[in-house]
Amino acid sequence: MIELQDVFKKYPNGVTAINGIDVRINQGEFVYVVGPSGAGKSTFIKMMYREEVPTSGTITMNGVNLAKLKNKKVPIFRRNLGVVFQDFKLLPMKTVYENVAFALEVIEAQPKYIKKRVMEVLDLVNLKHKARMLPTELSGGEQQRVSIARSIVNSPKVVIADEPTGNLDPETSWEIMNIFEEINNRGTTIVMATHNREIVNTIKHRVIAIEAGKIARDEQRGDYGYEN
């Protein structure tokens, strides 16, 4: 469960990105975070994986108050969370297999388990046959699938996705969304910031719209609601 209570975020340059947000996301939900550029979506998402810290208020995820989490404990917290980015953020010098395995190596998992589990998730994203390739040898969609595989290899309760289809063509975007659907069907919470109107309007889920740092709309099975 994720809970934000009276969250504010003001940057040192004086910009208030989040201006008082209260929201609760239950385990197993699929939530789209939408809104115009500069509305505060990215800050909202970044606070969820503790890249940004709120100026005031509390963010609780899996029982951890992120506002008070010490820097030293951040890596441990992130191990129970999957994060997918628009630009994939893959390690360029590591193969597909190594990129996914890295998330298990950091928790010092058994090599046998790492091998088995990595192949499992690569199978899920249909990339088992490209395990030995480098990210640069893959298409954008394939790279995003590696990134998704890495985000779920630890079996996290929550996956945060920041514009995961932003760099992909429409056809590939649908493939990626199907994978997210499958992950969500297995009980994982998905919080996804997106600008993709078609996806939000077609695959219906809860929609949280942020405008000027506030929640403007929070609808179960909502629409995108903005002109692209």
């Binding site: 890249e51 890596p75 992130r78 994060v83 390690l91 928790i107």
Partner: protein, 297 residues
């Protein structure tokens, strides 16, 4: 940390060296060039130091004994000199021996002095060595005041100048070696820093995936160590071969000369160990300091 994880870090560091080919080449080259400079300079300095030491140890006081002194007086004088705390040894050289040495040292011209063999005008001499070469001047002054001493000679002026020169050249050498060492540290760590800056995105991603700072640091730490060691290999080989040849060429020519160069063994093993240690330490230091900068997220 588990041994398995350490093994993983070692494997990662080797992979990274291979995968970052050009960066590895740049770092290893920087280490190599700098360590060659440091190594050559160090070898020269150590040998100069050895020469200086030999010269210093060769400095002695020649105490001319008054002709009026009989055997008993000479014994008393010897004891008096030996009682001076700075004095290490006192050796007697008769005036006949002194004349022989003089004739020998003059070469062909020395034959003219053979005339003096019948009526030797030289004095008997005590050859005094002090424990520390620097005590020569004070001891000579003290000996000069003793009874039956006509003069105590130690190459006044020359020895003082020599000592000052040796002292100055040693200080200059230490400053130069220290300067070169810091330049080496700066150059090498800077090159390694550049290679790591190029990988800062990698470090950021590792943190996002949940890697602790230590987990990120270890492979870089080992990579720095390997780079330093790799960079030290060529300087060690080059300097060893060069010194071996220089020693083989010079050593026979210097037999009997007061200038001696340090024998190949164990000196070259010490230099090799030092270069290896320096390479490794600088490599580790450079990479750890550079990674640290990107771990403050």
């Amino acid at each position: 940390m588990k041994i398995r994880t350490l093994g993983r870090h070692a494997r990662e560091s080797f992979k990274s060296i291979g995968r970052n080919g050009w960066m590895t080449f740049a770092s290893v080259s920087a280490v190599t060039v700098t360590l060659i400079l440091v190594g050559v300079f160090f070898v020269i300095m150590m040998n100069l130091n050895k020469v200086a030491q030999t010269i210093e140890e060769d400095v002695q006081i020649r105490v001319h004994i008054d002709v009026a002194a009989n055997d008993e007086d000479q014994q008393k004088l010897k004891s008096a000199i030996e009682n001076i705390s700075e004095v290490q040894s006192v050796k007697f050289s008769s005036k006949e021996q002194e004349l022989k040495d003089l004739i020998k040292s003059m070469g062909e011209d020395g034959q003219a002095f053979k005339l003096f063999e019948q009526d030797n005008p030289l004095n008997d001499v005590f050859i005094v060595k002090t424990k520390k070469p620097q005590d020569t001047m004070n001891s000579a002054k003290e000996i000069g005041k003793l009874e039956y001493v006509t003069k105590a000679v130690y190459g006044k002026g020359t020895v003082e100048k020599l000592f000052n020169f040796i002292k100055a050249s040693r200080n200059v050498g230490i400053v130069l070696i220290a300067g070169l060492f810091f330049t080496a540290v700066f150059l090498i760590s800077n090159t390694i820093k550049i290679t790591i800056i190029a990988r800062r995105r990698e470090i950021k991603i590792m943190r996002l995936v949940g890697a602790t700072n230590n987990f990120i640091r270890w492979p870089f730490f080992l990579e720095g160590l390997w780079l330093g060691i790799l960079g030290a290999i060529l300087p060690i080989i080059l300097i060893s071969i060069a010194y071996y040849n220089a020693y083989e060429y010079l050593a026979p020519k210097l037999i009997g000369n007061f200038i001696q160069i340090l024998p190949y063994s164990p000196f070259m093993y010490q230099v090799s160990g030092l270069l290896l240690l320096m390479g490794g330490l600088i490599g580790v230091w450079g990479s750890v300091m550079s990674v640290r900068k990107f771990l403050k997220v």
